[in-house]
Symmetry: C2
Subunit: 379 residues, 2 copies
């Protein structure tokens, strides 16, 4: 018997109690029962997004909410700044170009972040910029952008700050209102420990102002119309009902743990993972602030990183992820977000030792696990 472990950077494991809640008989989305569910979830989402604004849900994957952010706040011909530090930064760029929005890319070499002063300078050079688009956690490279500093750099400008928090919501601290973030986008299948299929947008008053001015056409992702339905505790179109049912359970779990503890847990798991990998002589891909959601690791010289993930899978029944785009073959990625705790990291590292050994690499067995244990033993 080989137990199955999902250790990729999303979708993440769904707790059994949540799976069973979602396996309850289907309910209808225009009933008092659904309304009660929605009211509870609506309040919980505000706390999770650390905002007093309503969080607008869409039945889609995170990319749908990314496109919603663009088509609801911008118009063709607008100029925006895009922080491009990985594959998901490129996605912002693709979405903007698709809709005739001019992109000024602010690039960081993959594995690094774009510093706040780069954004500040670019905003001075491009006072016409309508928005700054970025990832909080960039899942393709495993780095974490300094949203607080970039929000401070953006606040005085006319531009809104749009943050993809798909792999940071409920993982890394993101104080939407306090830091002055204008639009936060997220999804259900990462920190929220749910199946993929539900996404979210939360907007500041400044962002709602941009919505009024936006001229790009939208129907399914029409956020101003959806907001009116949310105000009545429903969704405009038939929502992913079962994921909403799961969301209620997940919000309860996160509130019981407490958001600060949730963030500390992820930071600690990430630190233990990094420490374990380095103790095994591996190089981390992140050269600046690493993400608490996942760890991207450079494959040892001469070893294709695809061999690492296939050995994880075939020998140990563990799913991790490889590199995307130009990082394919060079990087493997270990997820530690959502329903993850200490001994999951121990398992991932113990398996990594086995995998490296099976691939003919020299391994000091136990070294990775030992380094992680030391992190866990800290007070």
């Amino acid at each position: 018997m080989k137990k199955y472990y999902l250790m990729a950077p999303g979708p993440t494991p769904v707790p059994s109690n949540v799976l069973l809640a979602m396996a309850q008989p289907m309910i209808h989305h225009r009933t008092p029962e659904y309304e009660a569910l929605f009211i509870e979830v609506r309040a919980g989402l505000k706390r999770l997004f650390q905002t007093s604004q309503d969080v607008i849900p869409f039945t889609s994957s995170g990319t749908g909410a990314m496109e919603a952010a663009v088509v609801n706040t911008l118009s063709a011909g607008d100029t925006v700044l895009v922080l491009r530090a990985g594959k998901f930064g490129e996605r912002w760029e693709e979405i903007c170009r698709t809709h005739g929005v001019t992109v000024v890319p602010l690039e960081a070499p993959f594995g690094q972040t774009v510093p706040a002063d780069t954004v500040e300078r670019a905003l001075r050079l491009h006072p016409e910029a309508k928005a700054v688009l970025m990832q909080h956690s960039e899942s393709s490279t495993g780095v974490l952008h300094d949203v607080k500093a970039i929000a401070a750099a953006t606040r005085a400008s006319g531009a809104i700050l749009i943050v993809d928090a798909v792999s940071s919501l409920g993982i890394a601290d993101l104080r939407m209102d306090e830091w002055g973030v204008d639009l936060v986008v997220s999804g259900s299948q990462k920190g929220l420990m749910l199946p993929p299929g539900l996404s979210f947008c939360a907007l500041s008053d400044k962002a709602w102002g941009h919505v009024k001015a936006s001229r790009l056409p939208k129907y399914y992702f029409d956020i101003a119309t959806e907001r009116k339905f949310v105000a009545r505790n429903e969704c405009r179109f038939t929502p992913a009902v079962s994921i909403f049912v799961g969301l209620r359970e997940v919000l309860k779990m996160l509130e019981a743990e407490g958001l600060p503890a949730v963030f500390r847990r992820h930071e600690r798991l990430a630190r233990a993972t990094r420490s374990g990998c380095e103790a095994l002589g591996l190089e981390l891909f992140a050269k600046t602030q690493p993400s608490p959601a996942l760890t991207a690791v450079v494959a040892p010289r001469g070893l294709d990183s695809e061999a690492v993930l296939s050995t994880y899978s075939t020998s140990h029944n563990i799913t991790i992820a490889g590199g995307q785009g130009e990082m394919k073959g060079k990087v493997f990625r270990l997820g530690h977000m959502g329903y993850v705790a200490d001994f999951d990291v121990i398992t991932a590292l113990a398996a990594l030792e086995q995998v490296l050994h099976e691939l003919g690499q020299p391994v000091d067995f136990g070294a990775g696990v030992r380094a992680a244990q030391k992190v866990f033993a800290e007070r």
Copy 2:
């Protein structure tokens, strides 16, 4: 104890075996396991859509796939014909107008269908029309359009026929290839007996030709790009994995029953429902071909139809649906699609007798049930 029954025209009840399949541990969407699932589902969807073309899935509700159909086959300034026989016909119109497409509405009074010769005449008057958009089953009024005849009327023109089959796929016969339907849109939460959250588009060669010419911007719903991923047995963006898992189970159930039997079952359930309602002295809302998916019933004179559904709910724990838009207060709707069989109809009718009685209407107890039983006893 009052057992709960979901008898609305979607979302529909999900079979327990499907719920439990979906409650299995989450899997990742870039793995051999998911690929095997996708291959099975891909083949099953073709048989269900009665087409040799690939069916393109999107993580969204049915409205998302409706918008996908429009933005992928049309351009701003194009003219289309829209069959407007209810709320969902109006939705086609809204989506088209949102994207700068000129709509020529072909109206039927609510409760009636638009005949094929109306479409034929309109196509002669508007040879510039790029598409004809319609509902197969119009869930707001409970009628069924004659897709076969309208496809025949459309085939010779340059226009493609776009059919919303959200409440007809796996319910009413729809021979996409044989009848020459160009684009079929559907969703997971009606005949497919799944939770809402997955939608589908299937396109003919003629429709794929329109995709090449379409100039409307799209990213999340970019059907040509998505098609390339489907060809490799995956989805472009993180899909609603758990609904795909359920879909495999549902396709097995539908294939075991056999599509012709599935269609006969729905037709029989609908006939029994109509017969039962008429035996209770109620008027059916559909004046032309009724839909096998649901029955829309006119509330007795002087009775608000909202009272019928609230009594169904509060007295009997049964969810049915009311009228939408201008039909609110006048019509109630009984769903009989998906995971529904004879004794569900008996339950709905027995409850209706109780509900009418509770609302002070004269009721010949058993008359509705008796009429349905006679239909079921037919050979």
